[in-house]
């Protein structure tokens, strides 16, 4: 980040700066998508208006909601395991914040440039399961417990297709580094034509499909929302949470959706890059120009909005699977498909 400003920050300065930016990177897109999709797009889909009173077209509704949650009574059930109950939403949030660390927003606009960035991301994404299990168990509610167990079963099952879907991209890019994957897409060529780069959307569309399905399951969204299952388990592991702690879960849920969309954008849509011929027209240095540290986040945001649109579209359209159907779907359809995808990718990589 510091390269943009041509000023060398001290270690503690850049740490604080990055910390603030992490909050921005998690919370602002979350708020934006919640307003755009959860409030407005869904209202349109369901032929109603959605929030209209707070601010123009209800745009301040989210702030009102946050204020409402923040001042609600903080209820911990009598039989609950208090410490675990309190800690659970934070564990879920930690997973969200660890995820955003490895997402590249520009050539230098990145929190940490791990060698094994995508591997790290997939690793920390599984931490949220622990938070959900803690919440489910500590609530001392049967609905929560069933919800937590369902969530754990589902998240374990869908970790595998998620990883396997990414493997195709990794094979094609030849690196686990997120920045490297973006670079490979920018510098790539489709049949010798490099004007569009090579977003893996074109070659790994099966991977993208599997990735999005698995993300939908990881996020426990319809049609895989059995852990929450409004009509069965009321709210699953979140049943007993209220006020601020519920807000934390809420942020965790929607921010994680955004960050997975960021990941999908990075892996399949060329990340912060734009088609190289446009970049070359804009700057002589192409994608290496420092301005991409500012353009990149905007590009990422656009791509993220595209993917979250699909996520929410599906979420508010489909009924939910049953638990066993979900497992069948994962093990008998997604995983074989992902394996075939990897095999084909490997063969093609060797051939070309």
């Amino acid at each position: 980040m510091s390269a943009v400003f041509a000023v060398e920050f001290a270690f503690w300065q850049s740490t604080i700066f990055k910390l603030l930016l992490a909050f921005v990177a998690v919370l602002i897109p979350a708020g934006g998508t919640v307003y755009m999709y959860l409030f407005k797009m869904v209202s349109f889909m369901q032929s109603r208006l959605g929030p209209m009173e707070a601010g123009p077209y209800g745009s301040m509704q989210l702030l009102a909601e946050v204020g409402k949650w923040a001042q609600k009574e903080d209820i911990v059930p009598t039989n609950a395991d208090r410490r675990v109950f309190v800690a659970a939403p934070y564990v879920v949030l930690i997973s969200t914040f660890l995820l955003v660390l490895v997402v590249p927003f520009g050539p230098d606009a990145m929190f940490v440039n791990f060698d094994t960035g995508i591997f790290f991301a997939l690793g920390v994404s599984s931490v949220s399961v622990i938070g959900i299990l803690m919440a489910g168990w500590a609530s001392a509610s049967k609905y929560s417990l069933i919800g937590g167990l369902r969530a754990a079963g589902q998240l374990i099952a869908y970790e595998l297709p998620l990883v396997l879907a990414v493997v195709g991209v990794v094979v094609q890019a030849g690196t686990l580094n997120m920045q490297g994957i973006v670079r490979a897409q920018i510098d790539g060529e489709i049949f010798g034509f490099g004007g569009l780069g090579n977003p893996y959307f074109f070659t790994q569309f099966i991977g993208l499909f599997i990735f999005l399905v698995a993300v939908q399951a990881e996020l426990a969204q319809s049609p895989f929302d059995m852990p929450i299952a409004e009509s069965e388990l009321v709210s699953g592991y979140m049943t007993e949470y209220s006020g601020f702690r519920f807000l934390l879960f809420f942020i965790g849920e929607f921010a994680t959706a955004n960050i997975f969309a960021f990941l999908a954008a990075t892996l399949f849509l060329g990340g912060w890059g734009i088609p190289p011929f446009i970049a070359d027209l804009m700057f002589e240095a192409g994608h290496d120009h420092w301005a991409f540290n500012l353009i990149g986040p905007a590009v990422m945001l656009t791509k993220m909005l595209l993917i979250t649109f699909v996520i929410y579209w599906v979420r508010f359209t489909y009924p939910r699977f049953r638990e066993d159907q979900l497992q069948t779907f994962a093990w008998k359809f997604l995983i074989p498909l992902a394996l075939v995808n990897i095999a084909v990718t490997g063969v093609l990589k060797v051939v070309f």
Partner: protein, 390 residues
């Protein structure tokens, strides 16, 4: 129902029961889950105590009475015209339909009959009440299965029907419009044309639901083969309405015993489905809603002129006797058994409400199913709490 189907269903049920038994033997220790009284799947305050083994139901025991209002007792201290106000609240989504069998039973005791125009308008409103009731089910089934959007369409399109009911009777939910000997008022001017356009919206809504829900693979996977009720079992539990027609029983009180209503004047069809599962119950209700539109359209076209009230005494005294009239209400067969001793009030009124019998099958039906299927089955049986608890 064909014999093949019969065998398949029996095999499925036997497998279900065997599964439940096996698990019971393996793990005696289970979890008792209280679904309700406050639970989104129970449409009010039904409580379902289920014993679970993992997510499989070993034993389900519905507990009701949270909304018991004692109508059978209350009717004994109210005059006949006063009773209709009360019984409007039994099935509160299709209120007008609750009044009709009671009024018909009283009319039978008094030996009078409403004039044809009143009978036709009664039938029209009866069917509109059915449409208003069942549209909500058609959307709500999606919600119970996790698709939130359809119910909003249901609320949107039900409004057209409620507006028509309101402009004819003055009440959106509780019309209290039926009178002994006829109906309260004639239809307002222009009502027929408006109703026809409202019915168009409902037909569109039905097409939409067929697209969104019936045609959805996940929906099919969740409902086909879930909660199979063989016809014989359903009948001995007293299941009625679309629930039993979905099991292949071709029985509709509207067609087979149309006392005092104009169903025999129009051309319509009773829909049945051989499968008896949750999918069939939804499908039958969907077709019936269309059929209702068809019935109302014909009735509107052929509405006879004439008086809407027959001659009744100012103070209604019902002669001594007993009468039982049942009609095909939105939720199933609803009947009133009235015992009169010649007074102003009925001596005893037994209300046979559809949901009470429909839900009484749940302990048998839920055994061996899984928690998500419990919700599917409850939703597909379609009950309304006021109709269970009375």
């Amino acid at each position: 129902m064909t014999a093949v189907n019969d065998r398949r269903q029996m095999a499925y049920i036997a497998a279900q029961a065997a599964d439940a038994r096996v698990n019971l033997e393996l793990e005696a220790e289970g979890m008792t889950l209280n679904i309700g009284p406050q639970h989104p799947a129970t449409h009010g305050t039904l409580r379902l105590v289920v014993q679970l083994d993992g997510e499989q139901v070993i034993h389900a025991d519905p507990v009701m009475g949270y909304m018991h209002r004692g109508y059978e007792k209350l009717t004994e201290v109210r005059t006949y015209p006063q009773v209709t106000t009360l019984i409007n609240r039994i099935d509160w989504l299709g209120s007008f339909a609750n009044e009709v069998p009671f009024i018909l039973a009283a009319e039978q005791l008094m030996g009078i009959e409403a004039p044809p125009r009143a009978q036709w308008i009664r039938t029209i409103l009866f069917e509109l009440a059915r449409i208003a009731n069942v549209t909500l089910f058609l959307g709500d089934m999606g919600v119970q299965l996790g698709a939130v959007s359809p119910v909003f369409y249901a609320f949107r399109d039900r409004e057209y029907i409620l507006n028509q009911i309101e402009s004819a009777t003055g009440g959106r939910f509780h019309p209290n419009f039926d009178r002994i000997g006829g109906i309260k008022d004639d239809l307002p001017a222009g009502w027929i044309a408006e109703t026809k356009s409202a019915l168009k919206e409902i037909r569109d809504f039905c097409d939409e639901m067929e697209d969104l829900i019936v045609g959805n693979e996940i929906y099919e996977a969740r409902t086909r083969g879930i909660g199979i009720i063989p016809a014989d079992v359903g009948l001995s539990y007293g299941l009625t309405g679309a629930n039993i027609r979905a099991s292949g029983v071709d029985w509709d009180v509207r067609r087979d015993n149309p006392v005092g209503l104009a169903y025999d004047q129009v051309d319509w069809k009773v829909w049945t489905h051989p499968d008896g599962d949750s999918f069939a119950r939804y499908w039958v209700r969907l077709q019936e809603t269309r059929e209702s539109c068809h019935i109302v359209e014909q009735l509107l076209d052929g509405l006879p002129a004439g008086p809407i009230m027959t001659k009744v005494p100012r103070i209604i005294k019902v002669p001594e006797g007993e009468a039982y009239i049942e009609t095909e209400n939105p939720l199933g067969v609803m009947g009133y058994y009235i015992v009169s001793q010649g007074g102003l009030e009925p001596f005893r009124v037994k209300i046979r409400s559809a949901s009470f019998s429909n839900i009484s099958i749940t302990p048998w039906l839920l055994k061996g199913t899984y928690v998500p299927d419990v919700i599917t089955i409850l939703a597909s049986l379609y009950f309304i709490l006021g109709d269970i608890d009375r």
